[in-house]
């Protein structure tokens, strides 16, 4: 029977949660790298046992770890993330020029076809690629070198490239998102990039046509329909039907359209999941009720999913990389909270149960469907 492997990055280490296809009983392994922040770990779609993890602390900096056995053992690989050429400056919070400085790797996106190729989104925002299993990293500097780069500003969490989406159909097409610059698209495997933020309305940006400056939190795509993108922005949930050329809001009846993660059902391209959060001032769910909202119509019409989730006194957050789905026949949905819970639904979100209750604050959740 097929099973799932849930890769969980936390403030104090990584955990690997495994179950069979019933997704009722779980084995918990970890912490790996105890005491270190694991912003993200993710498996290769081309080799389920090849995993990459971003390990860092404020004390000792950045490491990248690689596993070739599904997370049972790890080895450190390359960690030199040197900006291409003279880095130049971007805008600081006060509008003054600020040198580009590497801080950490937020997101690792393995290639769809080659286990040795992996992309890294970093702070200060830039995109790197390794083609040798993480040993060496080269910046794809066409992104940071875009004309708008010197005008990018950090969000409250830093100027991070946190989202990398690879198009499985259109060769060379990929998407990236940066807080608080916006969404970008490449059609030549990351060599050149352009902003794709038309239709985004951001409070505080007076120009509705502003090319950059938008605080995109997360982008999701269904692999069978890669021209349709869903976006959770700082405020607003949006949809594009033309690979990011134009966006329109689909927040509809959500109790709040602020939030971080957004995911698409594995088998239903119009079924989308978000976790509404009260506001950017209150990073917890509305009314203290932890609710995942599901749209089966590609947005606008949303239903709360509450069975098995705390409906009172709940004040956790769900971060942008902390929700994912599996690809079993009955699609499973998973998310982790800043309170250390990892919730799973084996029925597309209709009902939920906590796999674990008391991990460190969860930073990322990625799911592998394994034979």
């Amino acid at each position: 029977m097929s099973g799932v492997r849930v890769l969980v990055g936390t403030r104090k280490g990584a955990f690997v949660l495994t179950s069979d296809g019933k997704r009722e009983k779980w084995e918990i392994a970890g912490p790996h790298f105890p005491g270190w922040e694991i912003y993200h770990l993710k498996g290769s779609p081309a080799d389920q046992d090849r995993l990459y993890a971003s390990q860092s602390t404020g004390w000792f900096g950045q490491l990248i770890q690689r596993s070739d056995d599904g997370g049972q053992s790890w080895q450190p690989v390359g960690k030199e993330f040197n900006y291409d050429g003279v880095p130049g400056t971007h805008q600081w919070y006060d509008g003054t020029p600020h040198p580009w400085e590497f801080a950490r790797v937020w997101h690792l996106e393995p290639s769809l076809s080659d286990p040795d190729t992996v992309y890294a989104g970093v702070e200060d925002a830039a995109l790197f690629r390794s083609v040798d299993g993480g040993q060496h990293w080269q910046e794809l500097s066409g992104l940071r070198g875009h004309d708008s780069g010197s005008r990018w500003q950090p969000g409250a969490g830093g100027m991070c490239l946190h989202t990398i989406v690879l198009d499985p159909v259109h060769s060379g097409r990929m998407f990236a998102a940066i807080s608080a610059a916006g969404a970008f698209r490449s059609d030549d495997s990351g060599v050149t990039w352009r902003p794709i933020n038309h239709g985004l309305q951001s409070e505080g940006i007076p120009d509705p046509e502003a090319e950059v400056g938008h605080c995109v939190h997360r982008i999701a795509m269904h692999p069978a329909r890669p021209d349709v993108l869903f976006m959770q922005k700082h405020w607003d949930v949006l949809r594009s039907d033309d690979a990011g050329e134009n966006w329109h809001e689909v927040s509809g009846n959500l109790p709040s359209d602020f939030g971080f993660p957004i995911s698409v059902h594995a088998h239903e391209p119009d079924t989308v999941y978000v976790v509404p959060i009260t506001s950017d001032s209150y990073h917890y769910p509305p009314e203290g009720k932890l609710r995942v909202y599901r749209s089966r119509t590609g947005g606008d019409e949303w239903e709360p999913l509450t069975v098995g989730l705390p409906q009172e006194h709940c004040y956790v957050n769900v971060l942008r990389d902390a929700m994912d789905v599996d690809a079993l026949d009955e699609c499973g949905v998973y998310f982790g909270t800043t309170g250390g819970q990892v919730y799973a639904s084996a029925d597309g979100g209709d009902s939920w149960a906590a796999i674990v209750h008391d991990l460190p604050a969860v930073l990322s959740v990625e799911v592998q469907t394994v034979p």
Binding site: W36, G58, W59, F60, G61, Q62, L63, P76, K79
Partner: protein, 104 residues
């Protein structure tokens, strides 16, 4: 022989259980002193996984929350060519690499 005491996270990372011993010849009357930079160079050469964890790989600057102590002296702000105390250079005292207390 130079002795270096590392913080727990770096010992784990490098697979070490105690102090690191580095084969750097102690300074003689006509030989150059053993410097902080020499010790860090030797430490990173022997344990490449530590590159970048104590000082920035590109600039060589000490990471902000890492401190160096030896013989009751704070060497954290000393330049890399600073000679280490004789007791460290002869191996009777360790160089302490310390993760600073931070975060409240």
């Amino acid at each position: 022989m130079i002795r270096v005491a590392l913080p727990a996270h770096l010992r784990t990372l490098a697979g070490l259980s105690g102090e690191v011993e580095l084969d750097i010849t102690a300074a003689g009357p006509d030989e150059p002193d053993v410097t902080l930079g020499m010790v860090l160079d030797a430490l990173e050469a022997g344990h490449p996984v530590l590159r970048g964890t104590i000082r920035d790989q590109a600039t060589g600057r000490r990471r902000a929350f890492v401190r160096f102590f030896a013989c009751q002296q704070d060497l954290s702000h000393e330049p890399p060519d600073t000679p280490l105390p004789r007791a460290v250079a002869t191996g009777s005292e360790p160089l302490l690499v310390v993760g600073a207390m931070a975060g409240g």
